[in-house]
Amino acid sequence: MAELTAVVGIGQTKYEAKRLDLSMPGLVRDAAEKALVDADCSWADIDAVILGKAPDLFEGVMMPELFLNEALGGAYKPMLRVHTAGSVGGSTAIVAASMVQSGVHDRVLCVAFEKQSESNAIWALTISAPFSLATVAGAGGYFAPLVRGYIRRSGAPEDTGIRVAVKDRENALRNPLAHLRLEDISFDLVANSPMLWDPIRYLETCPSSDGACALVLENESLASKRSNKLAWIHATEMRSEPTMFSGRDQVMPQATLDNAKNLYKKAGITKPREEIDCAEIYVPFSWFEPMWMEGMLITEPNQGWKMTYEGATALDGDFPVNMSGGVLSSNPIGASGLIRFAEAARQVRGIAGEHQVDGARKALGHAYGGGSQYFSTWIVDSAKP
């Protein structure tokens, strides 16, 4: 039987386009130290370090966990490096949690980062390798046709994506750590921003950010001694499917539907929209909010856009999404998934500051990656299951 596990420490850097003040070791250590302070722990209290990040070509360092070992207090400790494409931040939290849930370790440090300013993500994503077709389009070029497919299927109004972008960017103004904080955000500002990959406009896309996020996870016997509010992990789930094959539904992949079903089953959730108080969802392009509202079975097929339109996903709506400003406002790629998981935990701990959802008890953290093919999610709750 799996050990009950809690998030007892959360640390994040300030997200910016270029953190020229910090090296890679400095960046990860900043987030990790903040998580240790939050958890009231020292480096010596950590049993193992789990590090996640997106492709190594993003910084130009092969398996960078090896040189980051010391900065993360990992000398002579077990260290594991996770990489599952864009979902990696979420997967890293899940792998770290499994180290505690299995009883192998009592307390682990989980860190994810990206320092996009030290390389060029578009180059790293479009490099032409032997035996494979280069898309030379970056992530936006890959996902735009999927968004088109969704609009065609659902009949969603063309301005749905704009409304998501405005909402997330307004939320970011409440999050001092967010990278993009556009004081003059408005519907017209997004609508008039350049069209990058039709139907995705410039302000409907995520930025390239430097940043790191860290969690301290603990088993029940340690965490139960604490008097502050914790985020108890009720369920985790990961699902993957191949990138391309005949008949694959890339707009609404089976892996997301299976992931949602299994997650809710493990968490004992039967009516997700009613039982979950808020969610941090991986939305790198605005349209993925309505798409993943359906993909996570929060609403019926082709109805996701209505949640955006009706204001359900706003901070004061009945199902707030991306209270922190989401990936649209901060995107250190490898960390972006872990930030979703961490922000979900902050909500149920009641420490989300200006973007706190009143009375949030149960929250969903979500990440996806690859060609809409890797999904990782968790449910955290202020109470034990």
């Binding site: 070509l57 260290m79 499994s98 892996a255």
Partner: protein, 355 residues
């Protein structure tokens, strides 16, 4: 802790260059053979975990195509480490311990031949202060070997003996890449490649893939006549900086070995992943294998990493080679080793036992 065992192992032959096959094409026959061996299809496993490196493929997300080889449909519960497959096996073992899986497929693959491997490995080093000097992997290992010789930790003759032993063992292993029988004196007569390392002191550059099936408790007994039970599996990482480490021993191997309980019984077989002869000796010593001259331990019956070195699969293959000898009854208890990073920075130890 739950009883978890290795119940199947397959590998591709280690070759200098897979000229006509990409990673998926190398992996497919390996996974097919594993299915035939165990009767369990990879995609039907409760959990799947793989190990690979984007830098070997020269492409981001190189592991994604592995899902094609698995045939991951309907969608699977799956994860990936940017590490040798031995660490993917560790993650899968943890998942089974959690009670979330009864079976797990683990695979590792790499095609280092697509680049200049010793130079590629320089990209693992501190990118601000060390990597710009482009110290290649053989030179880094050479520094360690020189330290070991100067400090009187070992001799060039001992290194040559390790080189000879492994390649001689490999003559019995059709999957090995370097298979020959040369005397220690012949090896010592070779010119230096990176003083004090000779070519024979270095592992070859190999392309390849391997895969293992794990299963828990009775499920393991159903699949395999004599499962190789994992009695201990531990891994430890040291700082990367050579200046803060004792290069004359492998402290992380020693810690992992103690935690995994290597010394709590006789070791019939040891499969080591050290890519240089002096490192193999350091690992042997850290495991306590060479302390007793009457030791019955057979070290590297497959030839080890020195006879075939498909990066990202080579450590996983050591676990598989060790397990195979338990399947066959040739050995009752064995230890497998995997390593990563310059000069034995990170090490994993797995103790396997038959019933």
């Amino acid at each position: 802790m739950r009883d978890v065992a290795v119940v199947g192992f397959e590998q591709s032959p280690c070759v200098r260059r897979e000229q006509n096959r990409n990673e998926v094409e190398v992996l497919v026959p390996v996974l097919r053979a594993l299915r035939e061996q165990t009767g369990v299809a990879g995609a039907d496993c409760d959990f799947i975990c793989s190990g690979s490196s984007d830098y070997l493929a020269g492409q981001s997300f190189a592991f994604v195509s592995g899902l094609d080889a698995v045939g991951a449909w309907p969608p699977v519960s799956e994860s990936h480490v940017e590490m040798d497959g031995a660490w993917a096996l560790y993650e899968a073992w943890v998942k089974i311990q959690m009670g979330q899986a009864e079976t797990a497929l683990v695979y590792g693959f790499g095609k280092p031949s697509m680049g200049d491997l010793p130079m590629t490995m320089a990209l693992q080093l501190d990118p601000y202060c060390v990597m710009p000097l482009w110290p290649d992997a053989i030179s880094m290992a050479g520094l360690q070997a020189r330290h070991c010789l100067d400090a009187g930790v070992l001799t060039e003759r001992e290194m040559a003996a390790a080189a000879a032993r492994d390649r001689r063992h490999a003559m019995q292993n059709s999957n090995a890449q370097l298979r020959w029988d040369r005397s220690v004196d012949e090896i010592l007569a070779e010119p230096y490649l990176a003083n004090p390392l000779r070519k024979s002191d270095c592992a070859p550059i190999s392309d390849g893939a391997s895969a293992i099936l794990l299963a828990a408790g009775d499920r393991a007994r159903e699949i395999c006549e004599r499962p190789a039970w994992i009695r201990g599996i531990e891994h430890i990482c040291e700082p990367i900086d050579l200046g803060v480490r004792d290069l004359g021993r492998s402290r992380s191997t020693q810690i992992a070995a103690e935690k995994a309980g290597v010394g709590s019984g006789k070791i019939d077989v040891a499969e080591l992943s050290a890519p240089f002869t002096h490192q193999e000796i350091l690992v042997e010593r850290a495991l306590g294998l060479s302390l007793d001259s009457s030791s019955q331990t057979v070290v590297n019956p497959s030839g080890g990493a020195l006879a075939g070195n498909p990066l990202m699969a080579v450590g996983l293959s050591r676990i598989g080679e060790c397990a195979s000898r338990i399947f066959s009854g040739e050995a009752d208890r064995g230890v497998a080793h995997a390593t990563s990073g310059p000069c034995l920075q990170q090490n994993l130890i797995c103790v396997l036992e038959g019933e």
